[in-house]
Each structure stands twice: as structure tokens, then as C-alpha cells.
């Protein structure tokens, strides 16, 4: 009896194996943008329907009510699906990896694009952008802040030197840089000026950790959960300012180099001594709430969180926050990481032309201005940034505008080395930070992480990557 059963299982197994062994057929829907040459028309793809996958974000919220304007203009109907960020990141991969064209336009950003590009899921946009038959003459690509467009360009090869080269994979709808938000009222009280370098950063935090009216307040807060977002925000900004790199030119992991260890120790020690008690479970909203509750002194944060800080309905620190550039490294270098939410086209979409028409409409000056007024920060277009209505929104936020302008002008670039394993590597790195915070020696923890990361790079074939 057992004999018979095993035999049947074996047959079953083999059958399954053959079924599953067929690799997925990726039908590339070949659409050649340069094949269209007649003058530009908005209604070129009239009658089509496109599917958008969007992240829950002010941009989305300002976009949805205006979608029928788009349909009127172009004759293209729009279906959309909105998810909150965590879910969105996980689910968009399912859609893209099904190669089914179930999504045409989706929101993404630099780090995730790197994975998707490597997987062959994103349509390069230069031929659309540069073809006057497909892009209306008012689109004005030069109006975008150069850093925003550069951040979304990649030639598909891992390595620091490959940043900003190659195809344009997406168009930015907003941009975030990293600035130091601090309690200027406390700084005045303690007669301190905001930190200009990381030594001052530590001292500043320490000075601000004290008791006020019997309640303990602390000097600094930051993200701390064990995921790549902990790395790719304030931490990497400081890391890069300090002159450190995550990978060298041969794609060996260098997060355990002497400067890197030095910086990591400063960052973690400041948090240990002057930061939240439960730092390792600090997600971005925990961090934001902590700062808004008025109990923390500073945060190397996403710039536009200022929207929340200055909102009297939610924040107890309205009007008390100062903004300044991120502290400089030992040799005076200031860097700011950058993130842009962007719109991209699925390479396996069946409606690429309609998708491009949508993207150029949604990222036009008018649309982005309206979006900025409804809360989509920061605008990715210079004209929108300079628009008086938009500028007036931030006029009460201390010198927010100047700091961010300077960032966008001089200091902002993606501080991570382009590679397609950002989640796995970032998560591993964040885990090392958590271990250091819990007491492990920094060099040891980072050495182990670097070894694991080297292994991840090797397994992904990126060392010998040719595309």
C-alpha cells in the first residue's frame, strides 16, 4: 500500500515540476516611440483605458479629483488603485512580476526603480520625452530640478559611477531632501547654535537632554526599525557627508571602513544617550509623533515633515522649529540624500502611448502647482517652487524655503550606490545598527553585515553584471 502511494506521489511531483518548470513567458509589447512622427495631439490614444497604481500620498489625493479633466482632454479613461505605502511597495511587485500589463502607470522612486529596472519591468522614457510628436511643447523638461531627473536615471549597472547615467526611468512628481529640524526655542534658551558638524551634533543633543518641569526631554530622535528606510533617510545623509560610501568601485561593501565605523558610532551613541528609549521600534510615524509631541530636540528628517510640525491640529511645536542644512562631515562636505516619488510606465503595459500622455499631463506645470497647493511637497519643478501661491505656504516656517532651495541646488543626490538589492542590503545594514545600539561593538557588527552584504551582491550576480 505504501509502495503504491509513494509511486503516485512521485508521478504527481514530477508532473508538478514540469508544470512549474516552464519559465514565465514575458511577452514584451513592443511599442516604438520613435515610430510616431506627426504633430503632437492629446487625443492620440483616445478610447483607451489605463490602470494606475498609486501610493497613498498628497500627490495622489490631489490627482484623483482631477482625473476627469484628463479624460476630457485625451479621451483616455483612467482606473486606479491606492494603497498605503508599505502595502503599496509590496503589492506593486506582484503586479509587475506577473508580466500581464495589469498596471500601466505606477508610482515609484530611485531605490525601488533600481530593482525593477534590473528585473526588466520599467519602460525607458527618453524616446518619449524627446519626441516632439509625443510630448507637447509646453512640457518643459528643463523646468524640473536637475537633481530630481538625475536621481531617476540609471544605466542598469551597479556602482557609484553609474548614478545618473543612462535611461530616464521615471518622471518625478515631488522631491524630498534631508534637513535638520531642531527646537530653536530650546537652542535660544540654552544659547546654542544648531550643529554644523557631527561633533557639535552630539554635544547639541546632549545639552538638550534634560528635565523640563519634571519631565524628561531628549535631544534627538531618528528612525530605528530594522528596515532599509532607517538607512536611506537621515543616516545615509550623515554617512555621505562624513565621506563614507556603502560600496567601493568594485562593489565591495565598505560600510565597515574606518570612517564608516566612526560615523556609525557617533550616530548610534547620540541616539543611545540622547534618543528615544525604544529606538529600535521607531518607525517614521513614531519618530514624527515624538518630535511633534515636543519632547525631542532635533531630527535629521525628511524636509517636508515640516508640514506636520507646523500644523496646529497635530503638533505641539508649531512655530518653535528651526530648519538648517544637515551637519557637515569632518572636511566640511555636506550631503543630503534625496527621494522622489515618480511616475513610471510598466514595460509590459499594453498602453504605453496612453500611459505617457497621462504622465506628461500629471507632471505638467499646472497639475503640479495645483498638487503643491494641496500638500504635495516639495515640488519637483522650479516654476512651481517659485510660484507665489506655493511659496506663501512655507513663509511661516522659519527658513525652511532657503534651506531646501540650497539643498536642491548644491547638496542633494542619491547617497546610496545604485544596485538592485536595496531592500535586502538596507535591511541587513539596519539590523547591524540595531545590534550596535543594543551593545555589540560597532566594528564587529559592521564587519558581519559587510560580509553578509558581499554575499548578497555575489548571489545576485551584480559583480559580474553586464547589461
Amino acid at each position: 500500500m505504501i509502495h503504491l502511494r509513494t509511486y503516485r506521489y512521485v508521478i504527481f511531483l514530477t508532473f508538478i515540476y514540469f508544470l512549474s518548470g516552464c519559465g514565465k513567458k514575458s511577452e514584451e509589447i513592443n511599442f516604438d516611440p520613435s515610430s510616431i512622427t506627426d504633430p503632437f495631439r492629446w487625443d492620440r490614444a483616445s478610447g483607451e483605458t489605463i490602470k494606475l497604481h498609486l501610493n497613498k500620498h498628497p500627490f495622489t489625493e490631489s490627482l484623483i479629483p482631477t482625473l476627469n479633466e484628463f479624460t476630457e482632454l485625451t479621451g483616455i479613461a483612467v482606473d486606479y488603485s491606492i494603497l498605503s505605502e508599505e502595502e503599496y511597495r509590496e503589492k506593486i511587485i506582484i503586479e509587475l512580476s506577473s508580466y500581464s500589463g495589469s498596471v500601466d502607470v505606477f508610482m515609484t522612486g530611485p531605490f525601488t526603480e533600481w530593482s525593477y529596472v534590473r528585473a526588466g519591468w520599467v519602460e525607458p522614457l527618453e524616446e518619449y520625452m524627446n519626441n516632439p510628436a509625443l510630448t507637447n511643447e509646453d512640457y518643459d523638461l528643463d523646468d524640473f530640478f536637475p537633481v530630481c531627473l538625475t536621481a531617476n536615471r540609471w544605466n542598469g549597472k551597479p556602482g557609484y559611477q553609474n548614478y545618473g547615467k543612462g535611461s530616464q526611468w521615471a518622471i518625478p512628481v515631488q522631491v524630498e531632501t534631508y534637513i535638520l529640524a531642531f527646537r530653536k526655542d530650546w537652542a535660544e534658551e540654552l544659547q546654542l547654535s544648531p550643529p554644523r558638524n557631527y561633533k557639535e551634533y552630539y554635544n547639541f543633543a546632549k545639552a538638550m537632554t534634560r528635565e523640563i518641569d519634571g519631565r524628561r526631554v531628549r535631544g534627538v530622535t531618528a528612525r530605528g526599525i530594522g528596515t532599509w528606510s532607517t538607512i536611506a533617510t537621515g543616516f545615509i545623509t550623515g554617512f555621505a557627508s562624513y565621506g563614507c560610501r556603502d560600496f567601493d568601485d568594485q562593489m565591495n561593501c565598505t560600510i565597515n571602513s574606518p570612517e564608516a565605523v566612526e560615523f556609525t558610532e557617533i550616530w548610534i551613541n547620540t541616539l543611545k544617550e540622547c534618543g528615544p528609549l525604544a529606538w529600535t521600534s521607531n518607525s517614521w510615524y513614531d519618530t514624527k509623533e515624538q518630535f511633534e509631541s515636543g519632547q525631542y530636540g532635533m531630527w535629521l528628517a525628511v524636509d517636508f515633515f515640516a508640514v506636520g510640525f507646523e500644523n496646529p491640529e497635530k503638533s505641539r511645536v508649531v512655530g518653535k522649529v528651526g530648519y538648517t542644512l544637515a551637519p557637515a562631515g569632518p572636511d566640511g562636505t555636506i550631503r543630503s540624500n534625496i527621494w522622489t516619488w515618480t511616475l513610471a510606465i510598466n514595460r509590459h503595459s499594453r498602453k504605453k502611448l496612453a500611459s505617457w500622455l497621462f504622465i506628461q499631463w500629471a507632471t505638467s506645470k499646472e497639475q503640479l502647482t495645483a498638487a503643491a497647493i494641496k500638500g504635495n511637497w516639495n515640488p519637483s519643478r522650479r516654476s512651481v517652487w517659485d510660484d507665489p501661491k506655493v511659496a506663501s505656504i512655507t513663509k511661516d516656517w522659519d527658513n525652511y524655503r532657503d534651506v531646501v532651495s540650497e539643498n536642491l541646488q548644491n547638496y542633494a543626490r542619491v547617497c546610496l550606490t545604485p544596485q538592485s538589492e536595496v531592500p535586502a542590503i538596507g535591511d541587513r545594514w539596519a539590523r547591524a545598527l540595531q545590534q550596535i545600539w543594543s551593545g555589540t561593538d560597532a566594528q564587529v557588527a559592521l564587519d558581519r553585515a559587510a560580509a553578509d552584504i558581499d554575499r548578497i551582491i555575489e548571489k545576485s550576480g551584480m559583480k559580474s553584471f553586464t547589461q
Binding site: F12, L13, I16, Y17, S20, G21, G23, K24, S26, E90, I93, S97, Y99, S115, Y116, R118, A119, G120, I225, G226, T227, P276, L277, A278, W279, T280, S281, S283, D286, Q290, S293, Q295, S420, E421, P423, A424, D427, R431, Q434, Q435, W437, S438, D452
Partner: protein, 295 residues
């Protein structure tokens, strides 16, 4: 009716009756088998092709210190929850095993935590365990420093606390049923003999409760080894709370390594299978001894 006909009916009827359920079962078994097959490949969500790589995923896992760490954390978690929940549940059950007015209504209070979705319970506790949360407030009232409940050092214990809150009623209910089903005669004879309470407990109650204890341990062990909801809602899988299913989730849905993730799952599945078989046969024997019958 001819003898042949009846035999045909008797023989195949059960299969027919059970057919719908069997179809569903096979529908579920198919993915299980696929899981085993995929765990032998280098399947990654970001790459369109799959290659058969044999046991490489398993070998990699066995050599990966993070895997062993995750396994250790999972076993520790299961151990802690059992050690706390079973005795505590027994205590509550013994308290409830009195004929006092109103004790029946208490049972409903008891099962409220048990009937809540674990993920919602975890969210509730997350709000309570926040740095400025109500729990630290109470701690502050008695003069102690606020505790970072969900930070790395304490997070596993905090999640164990949530588990205890959720599932002690489970143990209590089962053990209460056990206590209430115990025969009265041995106790009566023991009281005639003036036996001490402790003696009664150790030599009468415990042996007769054994099947129930084993059952409680069985279900709690398996569920603890599989725990995912509580960790996902609170720490999302920090270093010290990386239970096996959480780590498999990361591996599959954040780092896109489906094949590797499934190898982790197959391993924990084997562990669960072995433990459950052991406990079930132990339970069978205990039932036999306790009631003189075979289940």
C-alpha cells in the same frame, strides 16, 4: 438487491461523500507540494526564470547564522509562552473550579482576549506599550523609569506578554474542562485519609489532568512556533523578534527570494510535524492511562 451491488456501494460510498472535501484538500495540497519544489529552485520574484538547484537553499540556510538565530528565537518564544501560559492557565482554571455564584459569567470575561483577532490585540498593546503610553504612565506612578517595551532588548518579552494575554484563557478553558471532568471518588477517599492539599494536587490531580495538559501544550507550541501576526503588527520583525515565519516573510516579500524563503518554511514545518506527532502520541498514551480507552 444483489450482494455485489451492496458491496460496491459500501466500498465507494465513503469516497463519494468525502469527495468535495477531498477536492478542496487536494487544491490545498498542490501548493504545499509546489512549496517543496520551489524550495529546490533559485526562484526570485525579480527574475523571470527558475533553475533547479537542488538542496542549495537548505545548505545555505544551515550555514547562515541568521537562520539559526531565527530558529533559536522561535524556540525560545515557544518555550517562554508555554512555561508561563500553562501554569497560569492552570491557576485560573483551579480558581474557576469552585461552585460560587457568578463564576460562570466570569468565563466570558476570560475568553474575550481569546476571541479577538491577534493582530488587533497586538495593535492595541502597541498603543499601550508606546513610550508615552499608559503602561509606562503606571510604571511612572510607582516611581520606576519608563520601559522601552518594544525596543530590541525587551521586544521579545513584550510580545510574549501579548501572547500570554491572548492565550492564557485558551489553556485555562481546556484545563477547566479537564478539572471538571475528573472523577470525584479518588478525592473523597483522599480526604477520608486526611491527605494534604499538596499531596492531592501532585498525585491525584496532575496525573489525571495529563491528557489535557498535553493538549494545551500541543496547541500552544505549534501556534507559537508559527507565530506571525503579533510580530508583524508590533515590531515588523526587529532583530530580536525575528521568528521563523516573519523571517520567511521578509525573505519572500521584501527580498524576493522565494526559493530560499520556502526552504526556511519547509524546515520549520518539519520541526512542527515532528513535535506534533510526538505530542499527539504522548497524548494518546496519557488518554489511555487516564480513561482506560483509546481515542
Amino acid at each position: 438487491m444483489k450482494p455485489g451491488e451492496r458491496r460496491w456501494q459500501d466500498r465507494y460510498l465513503p469516497y463519494l461523500i468525502i469527495l468535495p472535501a477531498l477536492v478542496l484538500t487536494i487544491g490545498i495540497l498542490y501548493p504545499f507540494i509546489l512549496a517543496i519544489v520551489y524550495s529546490l529552485t533559485d526562484y526570485r520574484l525579480v527574475s523571470p526564470t527558475r533553475h533547479f538547484i537542488g538542496l542549495t537553499n537548505y545548505l545555505d540556510s544551515f550555514q547562515d547564522i541568521n537562520f539559526w538565530y531565527s530558529l533559536a528565537v522561535t524556540l525560545l518564544y515557544a518555550g517562554l509562552t508555554i512555561i508561563i501560559e500553562v501554569p497560569l492557565g492552570l491557576g485560573v482554571a483551579m480558581l474557576l473550579n469552585h461552585e460560587i455564584r457568578g463564576i460562570r459569567s466570569f468565563r466570558f470575561i476570560l475568553i474575550i482576549p481569546l476571541m479577538m483577532p491577534p493582530v488587533i490585540a497586538a495593535l492595541m498593546w502597541k498603543m499601550i506599550m508606546a513610550e508615552n503610553g499608559i503602561l509606562n504612565y503606571f510604571i511612572g506612578l510607582i516611581g520606576a523609569a519608563p520601559v522601552p517595551w518594544l525596543a530590541n532588548t525587551y521586544s521579545l518579552l513584550s510580545i510574549v506578554l501579548i501572547d500570554v494575554w491572548l492565550y492564557t484563557p485558551f489553556c485555562a478553558i481546556i484545563l477547566l474542562a479537564g478539572l471538571q471532568s475528573l472523577p470525584k471518588e479518588p478525592y473523597e477517599s483522599a480526604m477520608v485519609d486526611r491527605a494534604s492539599g499538596f499531596f492531592i494536587f501532585r498525585h491525584l490531580t496532575m496525573p489525571m489532568l495529563k491528557p489535557f495538559l498535553i493538549l494545551a501544550i500541543l496547541f500552544r507550541t505549534i501556534d507559537s512556533l508559527k507565530m506571525f501576526d503579533l510580530v508583524y503588527a508590533t515590531t515588523k520583525g526587529s532583530h530580536s523578534t525575528m521568528l521563523m515565519q516573519v523571517s520567511a516573510y521578509y525573505e519572500a516579500f521584501r527580498w524576493y527570494n522565494m526559493g530560499k524563503s520556502l526552504s526556511h518554511m519547509i524546515i520549520i514545518w518539519v520541526v512542527i510535524f515532528i513535535i506534533s506527532r510526538m505530542l499527539i502520541s504522548w497524548w494518546n498514551r496519557a488518554m489511555q492511562r487516564a480513561t482506560g480507552t483509546e481515542r
